[in-house]
């Protein structure tokens, strides 16, 4: 993974000094709340219900074991000994003290980490596929470009105070796993007819209050122009985005208002001035960064391993875990492993300091000391030998990190919600926990099969509920918490926004509502259909009818 050089280290060190000074001035009353807010937000610090929340950047989800160990130590020293992985592949601490944040940043800087631009109206953490570099369907490893873009976007002076937050995702696979269509800018890397790396550029996607999938603004962009083309897009947005209304300030609203043709015309006109400026990426710079993402020193292994095969045959629990949590790898004899942060009845994405230390040790022992965070809020060991899977599983299981539920109903994607977040209209974690307990039977869970369930505590959609096969949104009705349900959302190349099935439900009703949605699926599915396929084939009405029929029956 990318290692800092003197320049990178100097920038994060200077940031620590800058933010320490800003915090001191705020505490001394020299900065007003309004003046300090954008400064702390651009350092990932929110003021929440009970304590501040600090969001630490994990660029494109990559972590070293050393970094994760440090995160565990920080969580123990400055917080309640746990952290929460977010849907932007970052780590959030829920209970740090505002006064401690400069010290936390100083500790992070010692392991090449920071909290720069993890919130605020600026370019946020650039996200990508958690299987980058190892996925068999990968065309281009997007991490070098993601790192080039990270550096370019860090303290970009022209885009320091945009109308609203700005999210970029990059992807280099046939099957999109980075939700490029749900980002302000999505960059899809591919090989063009001449065999050169090119980019399909999506713009104006985003979830939140007004969910919209992105539109292609450019089918073919030479990779050298990735930064200058982004500059053109963001410049048009910076000048013309709706600063008068925070709810309409995202780029998607501007793109919709102008229409993609007019927006593209303005961007292309701007780009004529910016194209070939010094931020144009050179072969040499890309090669310098790409060296950090060279393939791991893999052993030459056979595609099969006898000990692994016999363990699968003799150990059903291990086999169930392999089925759900172990993924194909481009190198023979290796697999990628997802460590589930979704044990039933716990807050999705949460991990204790002790578990962080365990995962760090596991990655040192079995996966070259590196790991990744996924936007589904799990951790991935990307390079594990087949013969190591059994001992890895045993240790992961002992630490509560081997729930065999990846991609299943209980692998719930969930924001911190009303328990922590001051933006939330409703709690989300207790809903996730209740649903997990409702579907605690593993055989039943596996029979239901692939299903993505996403929960957001408010329309800001941190839990990506619009693209969940089942999406749950917390809403406020006259001061009490209710939940609106959507079905038919999906991430990937054929992404879609879910449809609301009808009036919202109380918290107590939610496990039953999900249960009834599943009943319709079980009844209607063909042998090869996943939940989402059935929804797409038969539409919302049968699901709606069954859910509300039993609701009415209960009310009689």
């Amino acid at each position: 993974m990318y290692k800092y050089d003197a320049i990178d280290q100097q920038i994060v060190n200077e940031r620590v000094d800058q933010y320490r000074d800003q915090t001191n001035r705020y505490l001394a009353g020299e900065l007003s709340e309004d003046e300090f807010r954008p400064l702390r937000l651009q350092n990932g610090l929110y003021i929440q219900r009970q304590a501040p929340m600090l969001r630490i950047a994990v660029p494109y989800g990559m972590l070293s074991s050393k970094q994760l160990r440090k995160l565990g130590e920080i969580a123990k020293k400055y917080d309640k000994a746990y952290g929460h992985f977010s849907t932007r592949q970052n780590l959030q601490l829920n209970w740090p003290k505002l006064e401690d944040v400069p010290e936390i940043l100083a500790e992070l800087a010692t392991v090449e980490m920071h909290a720069i631009q993890t919130s605020g109206n600026c370019i946020r953490n650039i996200t990508t596929d958690q299987f980058a570099g190892v996925a068999p369907d990968e065309v281009i490893d997007p991490r070098a470009m993601a790192e080039v873009m990270r550096q370019w976007s860090t303290f970009h002076p022209e885009f320091a105070l945009l109308p609203r937050k700005f999210k970029i995702a990059v992807s280099g696979t046939e099957q999109d796993r980075a939700i490029v269509q749900a980002h302000d800018i999505g960059m899809e890397f591919y090989k063009d007819a001449k065999g050169q790396t090119a980019i399909k550029v999506w713009v104006g996607g985003g979830l939140g209050r007004t969910p919209i999938l992105g539109t292609v603004i450019r089918e073919h962009l030479d990779w050298q122009h990735a930064l200058t083309y982004c500059e053109a897009i963001i410049r048009v947005y910076n000048i013309h985005g709706r600063r008068d209304n925070a709810y309409k300030a995202r780029i998607k609203i501007l793109v919709k208002a102008l229409g993609i043709e007019e927006f593209k015309k303005q961007v292309e006109a701007e780009w004529l001035h910016l194209k070939d400026n010094p931020n144009t990426i050179t072969e040499a710079e890309l090669a310098r960064v790409a060296k950090h993402f060279d393939a791991m020193p893999y052993e030459n292994l056979s595609a099969h391993d006898a000990s692994f095969d016999s363990a699968i045959a003799s150990n059903p629990a291990f086999a169930a875990w392999v089925k759900r949590c172990v993924h194909a790898h481009k190198q023979a004899g290796y697999r990628a492993v997802t460590l589930s942060l979704k044990p039933h009845g716990h807050a999705p994405g949460d991990i204790t300091s002790e578990q962080m230390a365990v995962v760090a040790d596991l990655s040192d022992a079995y996966s070259f000391g590196e790991l990744r965070a996924s936007h589904e809020q799990n951790l991935i060991l990307a390079d594990v030998k087949l013969s190591d899977l059994l001992p890895l599983w045993e240790k992961a299981r002992a630490a509560g990190l081997a729930t065999p539920n990846i991609g299943l109903l209980t692998d719930i994607i969930c924001c911190p919600g009303g328990d922590f977040c001051s933006l939330a209209n409703a709690k989300s974690i207790p809903i996730a926990e209740a649903i997990q307990m409702q579907f605690d039977n593993l055989d039943y869970l596996h029979d239901i099969g692939d299903l993505e369930l996403n929960i957001s505590g408010c329309m800001n959609a941190c839990g990506h509920h619009h693209i969940g096969h089942i999406g749950i949104l917390g809403v406020d009705k006259d001061g009490s918490e209710w939940y609106q349900v959507t079905i038919g959302g999906k991430q990937g190349n054929d992404a879609s926004i879910g449809s609301v099935i009808g009036p919202s439900f109380s918290a107590e009703e939610m496990p039953g509502v999900v249960q009834r949605l599943i009943e319709v699926y079980i009844q209607e599915r063909t042998p090869e259909e996943r939940f989402i396929d059935t929804v797409r084939r038969i539409g919302v009405p049968p699901f709606k009818a069954h859910v509300y029929a039993s609701k009415e029956a209960a009310n009689v």
């Binding site: 050089d5 320049i7 100097q10 920038i11 200077e14 940031r15 800058q18 800003q22 900065l31 003046e35 954008p38 400064l39 109206n121 550096q151 370019w152 976007s153 860090t154 303290f155 970009h156 002076p157 022209e158 885009f159 320091a160 105070l161 945009l162 109308p163 930064l227 410049r235 910076n238 000048i239 013309h240 709706r242 600063r243 008068d244 209304n245 925070a246 709810y247 309409k248 001035h273 400026n277 010094p278 931020n279 050179t282 040499a284 710079e285 310098r288």
Partner: protein
Amino acid sequence: MSNLIKDNAIVADEWTRVTPPSLGEETVRKQAGKVVLFKLTGEETFTKEQITATEIPVGKVLVPFTVWRANKDALASRVSQGEVGLLIATHEAIEDVIAEVKDINAFALVAVYVERFADGRIFTIGNLLRTRYGFKNELRAVGDVLRDQLFFLKRSGFNSYLIRADRSAVEALESLKDFSQPYQGAVDIEQPAWRRVSR
């Protein structure tokens, strides 16, 4: 003491800022239940009546773009004597300003007024004035100008900053040095880090 920073030093401000009189109450606009804090790009700044009622004193004057436009002929000789600075607001379309002024370098000073520091349009405007429209003279940030934005302003082409009256310009000077090696190319340092140094 002056609160003006120019080229990394505190200097006296020789310019008188011309402000049109406010005639009557300004209406408070709301969107989605919240007071609108930022004007949209292209919105008018002053009414015709305000512009007509504006008095322009003698000496070096910093004149709002629309006031200058209404008094273009009368001010022409003062412009050529270097006594007129042009004040542009962040919501004024910079291409319209340029179309009207023809030669932006005729002005000894261009100032961009930012009503609220969080209005990042000022950075794009500074960048365009320097890189696209070739402005070579003093480029000043005025209004809600605070030290924590100075580094970005400098990198966007500004070389003078009138710090908000209730804040110390001496302390603000420190923030111009927040970062010593920026990553990306911008107006002040055009080359990105990887082109400047061997990494």
